[in-house]
Amino acid sequence: MTTDTAFGQRREWVLSVLDRYEIPLIRFAKRLLGDEDAARDVVQHTLLRLCDQSPEELRDRVAPWLFTVCRNKAIDWMRARRRTTPWEEAEMPSFRSREPDPAAVAERHDLYARINQVIEQLPAGQREAITLWAEGLGSREIARIVGTSEGNARVLIHRALKSLRQHPLARHLLAGPLPREIHLPRPCGDEVHI
């Protein structure tokens, strides 16, 4: 349609938000739920809810709003299907080697996939904090999304990195040659070189 009408504008806005955030939301939901199909469902619900929002109200807060709604939907989904959500389970990372056979393990060659697997095994609080950070959200935003204080959000991120640091994979990465440039997320997704 056209951008002249209010609905035209909203449509443009929703679609551009969708383009920008659909994949990050699916990633986030997938980290929470461990299930890609469920993640897509949750993200669909989230983006449909976005349609009801007015661009003027949400302007700057779109990202935190999206992740908050997505997270809530994920919790609902989990409660409907299981009795406990990951947050209510143990706080220790549950790293495990599923393949006792070294040959099978050596086949998993993709470094990023392996890092993701390690991240997926973090306790829920750490996992979601570090994921939200990677998606470009700041500590204050993360704190609001997960419903805690900013200090606590920082601690969660810190703990996540600490947990990861001591996994053998991380030790290996740190022992090897360092990446030439360090890329870290800038607020809402753009990279910044350090």
């Binding site: 220790m92 495990r96 393990v105 990023y112 991240i119």
Partner: protein, 883 residues
């Protein structure tokens, strides 16, 4: 949500702030403060550097994952919703179309698209439903084809150029192209990586081969892994036995769950250091290979260079404890430390230890096992002989091993054996004691059936602890005695072996105290085999006959229906109980969780504060519940343990034994796990050892050994892999550990490389890239000539604070033949276990050697169990002979 609200102490805040700085999240003010801190501390700067690197990887892995594609129906669904809202608000799409050239066809296209969208939105979920967890690509393909079909069917096909249609097709085509490209790229990458990681895998497994390899070749290989591992995006050393598989304690099948994660961690930190330092490891190996005296030069008067100091205390080599009134830590300070969800692989020894000051660097030394031949007992004492003369040695034992798979659907927790650790870098070895005996009985079952046991069915500590030893009884008032002995190691005669022996207080029949027992029996269909339910029934009846009217017995069965079969009955009324047992039959599916609940309730109903309260669970382990329910079961047991009701687990059956699960249940429930392979074993566990099975004399028993680097270059704890604890857990009374029952014996063995025999390591070390190892200083105590200090903590059954015992050991340089029968027999059992496991640490051990040592140690055979062991060894030899 609860886990987000732990109290945070100042230290964590500070650490978190440092991390936030590293991630660029701080405002100016905070940044200035942190930068001041960084200026003062190299360690903090290093921390920031590594945090950034790690964060970079996390960010890239999270956000650069190319495999996620947009959901196909999503955009359409959103557009549809927007259209609905617009219709609702404005009363019709035609209300405000501007004057645009494509106005009308616009509308029609929009209408058709909306129709298509509706159909698609309906189609997509139903397709998803139909395919369940179907592949995403299929759906997208279907959606695209569907849409294309509808478009072609409409007369407006030329409107494909229109912007509304464009998004769909625009995303369609380039997507496919992009995906293919990415696929190819990743395909190529994977092939390359696979090749290199496979290459590394074979290199590494070659480096870690058992003894047959010449040291020179090991050194040559060491340089290869060094270069192969360095380059960036390649798979880590998960093909190493000590790496990823050093995490087993953390998986559901692990020994202590959250507890052992701490334990595994402290070793994980050590082995985790390996990936970066293969060169050093190789260097260490070649170094050790060069040092031993040649074959035939058996040390005559004890080890060269070892001081022949007299052992201070008595000639029987038993050290009496000095009981320090040092209570364990469970203060608020440690409360604050608890919420640290930080994982447990921390390097344990940051603390001041008795023998050295300074920070260990976490390096590993793997000595090459010497190739001098095994000591063999002979008429005039010990002589050289055996495998060095026997050309077939390596081939034989290799054939024997061969990685037998568990039969049927049996399950075993994978064990990664403890490696050698440097006494300088890892002076503390901490573990929980264990009185389970299931592994020995299970191994016996396999051998008697004529097959070798699966590697992970062999837990050496459980084999050692199956046997009673002649350790002296404890002094009056003490729950156990501790004995220490050091002598030559028979499978690697350059090394020393240290045996730690605990002997629990015996309890006379009449002194047992009242027992409140609940038999929790699995009567599901799978138990309907002669070596299962009938055996369990016989075992229960044997136990009941030993009870008195001070005791009570209840029976709870679980299968499809779960219920109290027999209410708690005074054991004076034997007939009633025996009849109830007799009437049990198997059938139906299993529902373990409900049964456990009920059993504990029954036990609590008649709880005896002055006696033993126990649930005795007998099952083949097939609780037949799903994974999430497994975790619930474990949690249930852990909660129940708090009530003071203990758990004994009896495993039965072949072909379906869930060994890993049963061991875990026993651990969580403050209990022990035994395997009943025969009526005779049932008699041993439930009649002969009834006091041990029913009465706990000490709980949460932990051992911490500090090795003196002046005397010990490196050490290896044999077995107890699932029992390891982090060093700091030793003093933490909230950390659970094993229980010791009346009359139980516990044995632990350390293999030790003496510092005087090993060359200094400095020569072989590869320089590190990011740090210079801190030189640690030895304290005065290190010059005492002591080999190690053993600390032991235990709690009396009704107390919550631990008591501490401490002993020191000096090595008198005994040869193997001079050691006690207990020592020799334990060494034989450990050798046997290592051979069955195919352990790379088995040195020169052979079945023949084990047989000869066990035979000579038979001069003292409490209970006749050692003779049976000898039979098993001979049986294993025959099995090997048939291959």
């Amino acid at each position: 949500m609860n886990t987000n609200h732990h109290p945070i102490d100042g230290d964590q805040q500070r650490e978190a702030r440092l991390t936030a700085y590293a991630l660029g999240q701080l405002d100016e003010q905070e940044r200035a403060a942190v930068e001041a801190e960084l200026a003062a501390s190299e360690k903090a700067r290093e921390e920031v550097r590594t945090t950034r690197v790690l964060a970079n990887y996390v960010y890239e892995a999270t956000c650069r994952d190319q495999s996620l594609r947009p959901s196909p129906g999503l955009r359409l669904a959103v557009e549809e919703r927007l259209r609905q809202l617009e219709v609702a608000a404005e009363g019709g799409p035609s209300a405000s179309p501007p004057a645009k050239p494509l106005g009308r066809s616009h509308r029609r296209l929009w209408g058709l698209l909306a129709l298509a969208a509706c159909l698609l939105v309906a189609a997509v979920p139903s397709y998803m439903f139909l395919t369940g967890l179907g592949r995403f690509g299929d759906r997208r393909e279907l959606a695209r084809r569907e849409l294309a079909r509808r478009e072609l069917a409409s007369p407006l096909s030329e409107a494909q150029a229109a912007p509304e249609a464009a998004p769909e097709f625009a995303t369609g085509e380039p997507e496919a192209r992009r995906e293919r490209a990415a696929g190819d790229a990743s395909g190529r990458l994977s092939a390359r990586d696979m090749a290199s990681s496979e290459g590394r895998a074979s290199e590494l497994s070659a480096v870690l081969q058992p003894p047959g390899q010449p040291a020179g070749r090991a050194a040559a290989m060491a340089s290869e892994p060094a270069s192969a591992l360095r380059p960036g995006l390649t798979a880590p050393r998960e093909n190493s036995k000590y790496d990823s598989s050093s995490m087993p304690g953390l998986s559901p099948g692990g020994g202590y769950g959250a507890r052992s994660s701490a334990g595994v961690g402290s070793y994980g930190s050590g082995s985790g250091a390996m990936p970066g330092y293969p060169g050093r490891e190789g260097g260490g190996m070649s170094g050790m290979g060069g040092m031993g005296p040649g074959p035939g030069a058996m040390p005559a008067e004890g080890k060269p260079g070892l001081e022949m100091k007299e052992m201070k205390p008595k000639a029987d080599g038993v050290f009496r404890p000095t009981v320090r009134s040092d209570r364990g830590r469970s203060s608020p300070a440690s409360e604050a430390a608890a919420p640290q969800a930080g994982p447990a692989w921390r390097d344990a020894s940051q603390q001041q230890t008795r023998f050295q000051a300074g920070v260990p660097t976490g390096q590993i030394v793997v000595p090459t096992p010497s190739k001098t031949p095994m000591l063999m007992p002979g008429p005039g004492g010990y002589k050289l002989g055996g495998p060095a003369a026997d050309k077939k040695f390596d081939g034989e034992t290799e054939e024997l091993l061969g990685g037998v798979a568990p039969p049927g659907t049996e399950e075993y927790q994978q064990i990664a054996e403890n490696p050698f650790r440097s006494a300088t870098d890892h002076p503390l070895s901490t573990f929980s004691i264990d009185v389970d005996t299931a592994s020995y009985a299970n191994v016996r079952r396999f051998l008697r059936q004529g097959t070798l046991p699966p590697r992970d069915a062999v837990r050496i500590e459980e084999m050692l602890n199956y046997f009673p030893y002649r350790d002296p009884p404890p002094k009056a008032g003490e729950p156990f005695s501790v004995s220490l002995e050091a002598a030559q190691c028979p499978w690697n005669n350059e090394h020393r072996l240290v045996r730690i022996g605990l002997a629990g207080r015996q309890i006379e029949r009449g002194q047992r105290g009242p027992s409140n027992l609940v038999f929790l029996l699995d009567v599901s269909g799978s138990m309907d085999e002669p070596d299962k339910l009938p055996l369990v029934k016989e075992a229960m009846k044997m136990l009941v006959r030993e009870l008195t009217e001070d005791d009570r017995v209840a029976i709870v069965t679980y299968a499809e229906t779960t219920g109290v079969r027999l209410e708690s009955t005074n054991a004076g009324n034997k007939a009633k109980i025996l009849d109830s047992i007799d009437s049990l039959t198997a059938g139906g599916r299993t529902n373990g969780g409900a049964g456990i609940q009920l059993a504990y309730e029954e036990a609590l109903k008649h709880f005896r504060r002055d006696g033993t309260n126990r649930v005795i669970l007998a099952t083949d382990g097939d609780l037949n519940v799903g994974i999430t329910q497994d975790d619930e079961l474990v949690r249930l047991i852990r909660d129940k343990k708090e009530s003071g009701v203990l758990l004994t687990v009896l495993g039965v059956g072949t072909g379906n034994l869930k060994d890993s699960k049963l061991e875990k249940l026993a651990d969580k429930g403050n209990g022990s796990y035994a395997y009943l392979d025969s009526v005779r074993e049932a008699r041993r566990v439930l009649v002969e050892q009834i006091a041990g099975s029913l009465v706990t004399i000490a709980k949460d028993v932990k051992i911490q050994v500090e090795f003196n680097p002046a005397e010990v270059a490196s050490y290896r704890l044999i077995g107890y892999e699932n029992r390891r604890l982090a060093a700091r857990d030793f003093d933490d009374d909230r950390k659970d550990a094993g229980e010791i029952g009346a009359g139980h014996h516990v044995t632990a063995l350390y293999e030790i490389v003496s510092a005087r025999a090993a060359p200094t390591r400095a020569a072989e070390e590869q320089p590190l890239r990011y740090q210079r190892p801190a030189k640690s200083e030895l304290t005065d105590d290190a010059r005492s000539g002591q080999l190690l200090t053993l600390q032991l903590r235990y709690k009396r059954p009704n107390e919550d604070q631990s008591n501490l015992l401490e002993f020191a050991l000096r090595d008198a340089g005994k040869r193997f033949g001079e050691a006690s029968a207990d020592f020799q027999f334990a060494a034989a059992v450990a050798s046997f276990g290592m051979i069955l496991r195919g352990s790379p640490y088995r040195g020169q051990a052979t079945l023949k050697g084990v047989e000869e040592i066990a035979a000579s140690a038979l001069r003292d055979d409490p209970g006749g169990h050692r003779a049976e062991f000898l039979d098993l060894v001979r049986g294993a030899e025959q099995l090997r002979g048939h291959e």
